[in-house]
Amino acid sequence: MTNASELFPQKRVTRLPGGYMGRILRVNLTTGSTKDENLPEEPLLRRFLGGQALATYILLGELPLQAKPYGTESKVVMMTGPITGTGFTPGGTKVTAVYLSPLTNYSLGRGASSGFWAVYLKAAGYDGIIIEGAAAKPTYLFINDGKAEFRDASRVWGKGARETEDLLKQEVGIKDAKVMCIGPAGEHLVHGAMLVNDYNNNAAHSGGAVFGSKKLKAIVVYGTARPRIHDRDKLIDAGQRWRKTLDVYSVDHRKSVGYARQLEALPNLNFRSTLIADHSRGFDQNRVVQRPCFQCARLCPWHVEIGEGPFRGKIGHFNGGAEWMDTFWNLGVKGNATLYLAERINDLGIECSHFAFGAGVMFEAWEKGLLGPEDTDGLRLEWGNVEVIDRLLDMAARREGKWGNLLAEGPVEVAQAIGGDAPKWIVHTKKGTPAMHDWRPHFGQMLRELVASGGMKPQGGGTANPPPDLKYREQWGPLDRDDPAGWPWSNVLAEQYRQFCGLTGGCWFAQMHLKPDGLNSIVDSLNATTGWNFTLDEGLVAGHRSVILQSIFGTQRGWIADHDWQNVGPRFLEPVPDGKYKGFTIAKWLPEMVYEYYRLSGRHEKSGRPFMDTLSRLGLEEFKEWAQRD
């Protein structure tokens, strides 16, 4: 493994490819120091590109093996990619943060976010940030046109994400500044705390808690620089092609139950029913305004002004998915109260599923008589009780009382505290919680959730047909949703091209692999930006490399592939309780499906360690000590 001084050259000897700003900011909160590092040399950049892979590679080199997620030795590495902020591609909006996950204590935590923040980090002159140490007092980092300084955050400590954003913009006196911050949940080390930026965007999966452990409330960025582009005309052309592939969200979609409709399953009463009923009642009276990320025409983020009922006039800021709605539907809430609560959870900065599955177990325990008012300080945990849920959100975000503290810990701890059968009702993977949807009716999505790093939003989700752009090499016909054959390979591939998209600095929600040109336009965007000559195949290899780095990080800290199917909340593996896919479960095919996935991705099926020839193929020989030996 290259050490830091070799990785970040004093003086670059190779060309800085287009798209990059050329610098990484290293900040140490303990000492209050900041330092500019030169970006690695071109060959290394071409290997890891940016985003998760480059960030993980840096983290692997710098994070001690015995580091604790919240220890001062813990680090967060945040990276954009070359197409982030170029302006000519629809999805060039991404920043990815990696760290040791406090949910699993042994796997890679990753939070990725879009919006505007990443664009302005580059405008401020940096491709990424390495965050070290821990501050003694609440602090925020202000990066203004190439200059970084720490500032006192006591004024915003304790405040929600929205207010923090507004106040910090005022405080730095720059209206165009962009804020990434944590809410109270991050401050109180709620293990599932998020990073929140630009109102509508969240980087979930614990990054907020790690920020909190460092007393880092926010990073405010502003600058006016733009990355140099290798071939602007070609980039404009590739970006416009990419844009044509986008599946544009409509306003009407925001007045429906959203993603549950595509999945044909909506989480009800702690994953005990999947039926879609009148959940979105009243949504038709809301005023919805789409608020796209920087230069992206997919129109994921949206604002809502609730138009009826007790929450009339309340405002909410959301992004593409519908995790926040599924969260409260899972607790029996319907109608616009869902959106009200969804705004609250985002403002507090708690990852939806972390709360949804913890509270879900509590509510189920109440229903089944395992918990009563004497256990809950009088809180009546009745399904759909908006007031109680509202209260629990505050308690969880600030670790108030016994239950607030347990919710902050996670669903496993909640269930253990309740005892009895409660541990059977949990949904989790390796103690992290999957993205908040009911994925159970679907092979591709379930497999991807299981093999993810644990509570980290994974990036597979194989498709029934090969993406049109891969038809030249992939032959499978429609995969059968009742037959596991083919799904692991589909997932391996999906993970690779999604990872690749992220490494370029592109948003994988804007990556439309099912449309012709959906992948090639991204490859061409990368090439036009950087001056490289990637093929799609090489792009997939880069994605694969990133997946392997992620798993090496786990291997180093005690993760094995068997945990993927063994350490899973039982409810997640129960057969679909009702609806169109009643009775379906991936459990029938475990562990074989997980094993096959690992074999196909060049790793040992039980240990998850990469084989030596996988490492050689990916140019990762330097990690040979973590390879599978036989």
Binding site: G87, Y199, A225, R226, V248, R291, P292, Q295, C296, H303
Partner: protein
């Protein structure tokens, strides 16, 4: 063109001489400012503030609040007047009205006298702090001359912007206004412009100015500024010579510049 302008302003042709118009349909606009960033991207401007017009930010979306947070949005950029006051007052003829629509300030010729900044009824010209020259939206004349649409137009993710031959756009705008009970803005203001807005609520709600209907509208260039430009080093010696020379060969063009009731304040 010369009949229309009676040689009051410099004119030119980029492509085929057919007038074109940008359409802004406020009922569709979501205030995302992708047009604003697209303009910066095309013209390679730094990411300076999107909230105010500057030499590196040629459009603003009003009101100046965070994207998505206002129910109504108005576009604020050069209207590409049919009778551009900015061009009429320019002493060095740095501003040209092209037949296809664009009103363009030549950065080479501009001497930074600021007359146009005062003359523009929409107040959309700003001065570049470094070069001291006037700058504004060009209607992407470089793209128009290649028969492409302005970059902001192609960027709009919801089709609130459109571009095309003037008659077609005007018909579309009329139809849009009829359908949503709205009205047009820009078709008659200042004698007509090549930006057409479809609005529904009061003009002020979109942050657009109530400009009168007369051609080359009344404006106020401070007398002090004129005297300064004439008698100090400001604007350079070559600039003064050029202004003098043009005043002699195009005396008619002085009418909106120095005629007391039409220009000088």
């Amino acid at each position: 063109m010369s009949e229309k302008y009676g040689s009051l302003i410099p004119t030119g042709r980029l492509l085929d001489g057919k007038p074109r118009t940008i359409l802004f349909d406020a009922s569709k606009c979501i205030g995302c400012r992708q047009c604003v960033h697209a303009c910066k991207d095309w013209h390679d401007h730094p990411r300076t503030s999107v909230y105010e017009l500057s030499s590196t930010n040629w459009i603003t979306m009003e009101p100046p609040v965070l994207e998505g947070l206002s129910p109504l949005w108005g576009r604020n950029s050069c209207m590409h007047c049919e009778f551009p006051m900015c061009a009429a007052v320019c002493p060095v003829e740095a501003i040209t009205k092209y037949e296809e629509g664009p009103v363009v300030i030549s950065q080479e010729i501009c001497i930074g006298c600021e007359y146009c900044i005062y003359a523009c009824p929409w107040g959309v010209i700003t001065k570049n702090d470094l070069t001291h020259k006037a700058a504004k939206c060009t209607m992407c004349s470089d793209r128009v001359s290649e028969d492409k649409n302005p970059f902001c137009v192609q960027a709009c993710p919801v089709g609130a912007l459109d571009f095309g031959l003037a008659e077609a756009i005007s018909a579309k705008a009329r139809k849009g206004a009829e359908e949503n009970g709205g009205y047009l803005y820009g078709d008659k203001e200042a004698g007509g412009t090549q930006l057409l807005y479809v609005l529904k609520e009061k003009k002020g709600d979109y942050g657009v100015r109530p400009v009168g209907l007369e051609r080359y509208p009344q404006h106020k260039i401070p007398l002090g500024l004129m005297l300064k430009d004439l008698f100090t080093l400001r604007c350079g010696f070559a600039g003064k010579i050029r202004a003098l020379y043009l005043a002699v060969i195009h005396p008619k063009r002085l009418i909106y510049r120095y005629w007391p009731w039409r220009g000088v304040a």
